[in-house]
Amino acid sequence: MVSVKRIVLCALILCGAAGGVAEAAGRLRVEPSAIVLPPAGGEARLTLRNGGDRPLRIARIDVTGDQAGLRVAPLTRTLQPGETAQLAVRRDGGTTPAFAGLRVVCDDETLPALPGGGPDERVGAVAVRAGATPLLGWLVFLPLLGALIILLAPGSAERFARAVGLAATGGVVVLTGLALSRFDAGARGAQLVDHAVWIRSLRVEWFVGVDGLSITMVALTALVGFIAALSSLSIDKNVKAYWALFLVLMTGMLGTFVALDLFLFYVFWEVMLLPMYFLIGLWGGPRKEYAAIKFFLYTLVGSVVMLLGVIALYYASPAGSLVDGTPAAHTFDLVRLASEGRGFATTPRLFGALGFAEVVWALFFVGFAIKVPAVPLHTWLPDAHVEAPTAISVILAGVLLKMGPYGLYRVNAAVLPGATKWAAPFVAVVGAISIVYGALCAFAQKDLKRLVAYSSVSHMGFCLLGLGALTTSGWQGAYVQLFNHGVITSMLFLLVGVLYDRAHTREIDRFGGVASQMPRYAFVFGLAFMASLGLPGLSGFIGEVLVLLGSFPSYRALTAVAATGVVLAAAYHLSALSRVQLGKWNAAQWKDRAQFPDLTAREALMLAPLAILVLVLGCWPQPLIALSQGSLGEVLAKVAGGR
C-alpha cells in the first residue's frame, strides 16, 4: 500500500534530481558570500572564481558603506574559465561596528549594472560585517523563539508555557539591561547597529539599531512586558495559546522600536495586530469580540493607509546601495531617508497647497494617530482596554500606545521635517482637544477601568501638544511623558485588576472605604493616582510641566486650554480615589470583608518596580531626559529649521 509520505518523498527526489540539471547563474563565483571580521580587527580572504566558459574580466574592487579602518587589496585581472584569484580584506580594530559592501566590478552580464558605469561594468556584491553585535536581534527574537518552543510542546503544557513565557520576558529584561549598559548617551546616531540584506528583490534590509529614544522605549517594553507576564500567570484557559500569542506580541513590539528600515518597521507594526486580536477576543471580558474586532479594524485601516506612505517614500527615495554593495535605485533605510531625503519637499503641489511631503505626512499621521490615540480616532481604546484581560490592558496602555508618538518621531519628524513643521499647529490642536475631551469623558465614567482608559487618552494628548510645540522643552516633555505614562498607566491597570480579582466588578459607586480593609493597596493606589494626575514629586508631573512650559511660547491659548485639562485630571482622579478608597466601607454591597485580602506577594512584586520608578523619576528625571536628549535635539533642529 503506497502511503502519502512515500509519494511526497518520491516527488521531492524527482525535483531534486531535476534540480541537478539546472544551469548555473553567472560566471563570477565568490567564496564566501559574506565576510565577518572580528571586532578587534583581522583579515579575511576572498576567493573569486570564473565558473563560466568565457574569460571574466575583473576591472576593480570598490568599497561602499562604512569604510572605517577597512583595507582591500586592489585587483585587476582577467580570469580564464576555472581560474581563481585571492583577495585580502583587512580591518584594523575599531570600536564601532562597520558594515561595508565590496563591489567586484566585472563584466558578468547576469549581474546588476554599476550605476553611472560603462556598459560592461557589472557589480557582484559581497557583504563585510566587522564587529557587529547580534544583541538587538536576540532581543527581538527571543520571545518568538519562546513562542515556537511553546507551540511545539505536546499536550496542554500549562506549567511549561508559563515557565517559558516568564523565562523569555525575563531574558528580554536581561538583554535590555545589557544593551543599556553598552549604550552611550552622548554619542550621536544609532548604536548597537546590525545591518544585513533581508529580501534582496524588494530592497528590504534587516537594519536595526537604537538611539536615545528607542532605547527608552525598549526598556519600557521589557519592563512592562515582564510585569504583564507576571500578571498573566493567572490566565487558566488555553494557556499555551495565550503565551504563544503574548510572546509573538512582544517580538512585534520590540521589533518596531529597534527597526531602522521602513519596510521592517511596517512588518513589525503589523505583526502586533494578529496576537492582539486574539488576546482581547479570547481572554477578554463580556464584550470581548466587539472590542477585538473594533481594535483590529481601526488599526488595520491606519496601517494600510500607512502602507501607501511607505511605498510613496520608497519610490521618492535617493538611489544608493544595499549594505552589501548591491546597487539599489531606492531605499527603505530610515537613517538615509532622514539624512539624504531633504524632507522630500517638492515644488509641484499635488492638491492645492499640499505637496508630496505633506500628503505622505498625512498618510503616516493617520496610522500613528489611531495608535496615540488622538481624538477623534480614539474610540477603539475604551472598549479594547476595558474588555482586555489585565495583563493585556497593561501591554496595550503601557507599550502599544507609545508607538504612535514614536512613529511620529521616527518617520514623520525625522524623514519629513518640513511637513512636520507645517502640520505642527494642527498636531498641537489635536493634542489639546484630546487632553480636554479625554478628561471630560473620564470624569463621566462609572467603571474604574474605563476611567483609566480615558485618562490615557488625556495623557497622550500632552504628547501631541508637546510635539506640536516644536520647542526643546515641549519635545522633551512629550517623550518623557511617553515613558512615565507607560509606567503609571501600567500601575493603574494592575491596581484595577487587583480590585477586580477580588470584587468581580469595577463600578466605582459600589466601593467605598477600601483603604480600611486594604491599607497597602490603598497606599499604592493613592501613589498611582497622584502620579497620574501630575502631582509634583512624582513622575507624571515632569512630562506635563515640560510640555506646558514648552508649548506656552508657541501657543498661549492652547496651553491655557490644556492646563484646564490638568485641573480636570485632578478632579476625576481625586473623585474616583475618594469614592473607592476613602469613606466608610460599603457594607451593604460587601458583607464579607475577607473577600478583600490585601496585596499578595505576586501583586506587590508586580507593582513595586513601577512604584519605585514613579518615585525616583519624579524627583530625579535626569537619567531619562539625558538618554533621549541627543537624538531628540537633532531631529527637532531639523524640524524647526524646516528642512
Binding site: V8, L14, L274, L282, L297, V304, L307
Partner: protein
C-alpha cells in the same frame, strides 16, 4: 514570425503539456481497469503524471522562442503559467483524492482525468499568442470545468452550478469570439503581435471589439460585470473543484489578459477600462462577501475581490507589473488552496461549509481552526504572510507608475483590503468566539488532509524567504 520554431521543432518544447494531455487519457484508462479503491489509484497515477510534467517543465524552465510559428509563446510569462497550472492541479488532485470516503462521492477517477484536461487548457491559455489559440485554450479549460462543476451525484446544487456555468460560459465565449472575429477583420491576422497597429478610421469599432473580447477574459477571471456565475458555481461544485477553479483558471486568465493588453497596446485607454473593472470588482467582491453565511460563497466573493486586485497588476504593466502579477498569483495560489482545503477537509469530516456549523470549531477541530486563521490573515494581507507580499508588490508597481487614476485605485484597494477583514473575521468569530454547538467532527482527520494543509501553510507563512 522570425525566431519562431516550426511545428516539429516546437513539439519538444511543449512536452509538459503533451505529458498532461496523454496523462489524462492514461488516468481515464486506469479508472476503467483498476481495482477498488479506484479514486486513490487514479489519483496516484495523476500525481505521477503531474510530477513528470513538472520535471519536464523544470528542465525547460528558461524562457525560449515562440512556438508553432507564433501561436504559442515560450517566454517567462508562459513558463509561469505552466508552473501555476501544474501547481494548482496538484492541489486539486490531492484535495479530490481524499474525498473518496464519507462524502457520498462515487469512487471513480474521472474527475482526476478532467482536472488534467483543465491543466492542459490553463497551460495553453497562459502561453497563447494568437486569438484563436487563446479561444481554443479558454474553451478547453471551460469545457472540462463545466463537467467538473456538475460531478456530484444526486446533488441539485451541483447540476444547477454546472448549468449556470455552461450557459454563462457559452454566452461569454460567443461574445468573445465575435470580438475576436472583428479584430481579425481589422488587422488581417489573429496573431497578438499584429494587433498593435491598425488601419486608420477603425479606432472606435476596434475599441468595441476589444471590449467584447474582454468580456470573455473577464468571465474567466470572474471580474465584474461577468462575475455572476462564480458564487453559484463555487457553492454548488464539489469543494476541491471550487478550490481548483478559484486558483487555476483565474491565474491562467490573468496571464492571458496581461498578454492581450500588452498586445493591443496604448491605443485603448486601458487605465480607464481596466481601472473601472478593477474598482468595481474589488468593491463588489469585498462588500458582497460580508453578509454571506455559506463559506464557499464567501470565499467565492473573496476570490472575485482578489481578481480585482490582480487587475491592478495588469494595469501597472511593464516589468514591474508582470513581476507583481507573478508574485501575487503564487501567494494567492497557496493561500486560496489552503482556505478551500480547510473547508474541504472539514466537509469530509462532516462539518458543513456554513457559518453556523463552524461555530466553536476552535475547540472541536483546533488544528483546522488555526490553519484557517493563517490562511484568512494571508488573504487580508497581513505581514509577514504571503498575501501581504503579493499585495505589496502590486501596490508598489502601481504607485511607481503614478498618475491620478492609478493612485486613486491604490487608495481604494488598500481601504477595501482593510474592509475585507470583516467577512473573514466573521469566520474567525464563529470559530473562536462562539460557543461549541456540538461534539468533535464525527470522522477523524486523515494524515493526507493534514499533510496537504501543512504543505500549503508553510509557503503561506514563509513565502518571503523565496523573494
Amino acid at each position: 514570425m522570425t525566431g519562431a520554431l516550426d511545428n516539429v521543432a516546437s513539439l519538444r518544447e511543449v512536452l509538459p503539456e503533451a505529458i498532461v494531455g496523454v496523462g489524462s487519457l492514461v488516468v481515464l484508462g486506469v479508472d476503467l481497469v483498476a481495482a477498488r479503491p479506484r479514486r486513490a489509484r487514479a489519483a496516484l497515477v495523476a500525481l505521477a503524471v503531474l510530477a513528470l510534467a513538472a520535471t519536464a517543465a523544470w528542465v525547460w524552465r528558461a524562457p525560449g522562442p515562440s512556438l508553432f510559428g507564433g501561436l504559442l509563446a515560450g517566454d517567462a510569462l508562459a513558463r509561469l503559467g505552466r508552473a501555476l497550472a501544474i501547481a494548482s492541479s496538484v492541489g486539486g488532485v490531492l484535495l479530490l483524492s481524499s474525498r473518496g470516503r464519507g462524502t457520498g462521492d462515487r469512487d471513480s477517477g474521472e474527475q482526476l482525468a478532467l482536472v488534467l484536461g483543465v491543466t492542459l487548457g490553463m497551460s495553453l491559455m497562459a502561453a497563447a499568442t494568437a486569438l484563436l489559440t487563446a479561444f481554443v485554450a479558454l474553451e478547453a479549460t471551460s469545457l472540462f470545468s463545466y463537467a467538473l462543476a456538475g460531478m456530484r451525484p444526486r446533488s441539485r446544487a451541483a447540476s444547477e452550478a454546472a448549468l449556470k456555468y455552461v450557459v454563462y460560459g457559452g454566452v461569454a465565449a460567443g461574445v468573445m469570439l465575435f470580438g475576436m472575429s472583428l479584430l481579425y477583420g481589422m488587422h488581417g491576422s489573429t496573431r497578438f503581435d499584429a494587433l498593435a497597429s491598425f488601419p486608420a478610421g477603425v479606432a472606435v469599432p476596434r475599441l468595441l471589439a476589444v471590449v467584447l473580447c474582454l468580456g470573455g477574459f473577464a468571465y474567466k477571471i470572474a471580474a465584474v460585470p461577468f462575475h455572476m456565475w462564480a458564487p453559484d458555481v463555487y457553492e454548488g461544485a464539489p469543494t476541491p473543484v471550487a478550490a481548483l477553479f478559484s486558483v487555476g483558471p483565474k491565474a491562467a486568465g490573468m496571464l492571458l489578459l496581461a498578454r492581450f493588453v500588452e498586445a493591443i497596446g496604448p491605443s485603448v485607454p486601458w487605465e480607464l477600462v481596466l481601472g473601472t473593472m478593477a474598482a468595481a470588482t474589488m468593491t463588489l467582491g469585498t462588500l458582497a462577501a460580508m453578509p454571506q453565511t455559506n463559506l464557499k460563497r464567501l470565499l467565492a466573493y473573496s476570490s472575485i475581490a482578489h481578481a480585482g486586485t490582480l487587475l491592478l497588476a495588469v494595469i501597472a504593466g511593464g516589468d514591474d507589473g508582470r513581476a507583481a502579477l507573478g508574485v501575487y498569483l503564487v501567494a494567492y495560489l497557496v493561500t486560496n488552496l489552503g482556505a478551500f482545503g480547510v473547508v474541504a477537509a472539514l466537509e469530509r469530516r462532516g462539518v458543513e461549509p456554513e457559518l453556523f456549523a463552524w461555530r466553536g470549531l476552535a475547540r472541536r477541530a483546533p488544528v483546522e481552526a488555526w490553519l484557517m486563521t493563517l490562511f484568512l490573515f494571508s488573504l487580508v494581507g497581513l505581514p509577514p504572510l504571503a498575501g501581504f507580499f503579493g499585495k505589496y508588490v502590486v501596490f508598489a508597481a502601481l504607485i511607481a507608475k503614478g498618475g491620478p487614476l492609478p493612485l486613486a485605485l491604490v487608495l481604494l484597494a488598500v481601504l477595501l483590503s482593510a474592509a475585507s477583514l470583516f467577512p473573514y473575521a466573521r469566520i474567525l468569530r464563529a470559530m473562536f468566539f462562539e460557543g461549541a454547538t456540538g461534539p468533535a467532527p464525527a470522522v477523524a482527520a486523515t494524515r493526507l488532509d493534514r499533510a496537504i494543509l501543512y504543505a500549503l501553510a508553510l509557503p503561506t507563512a514563509a513565502l518571503f524567504l523565496t523573494l
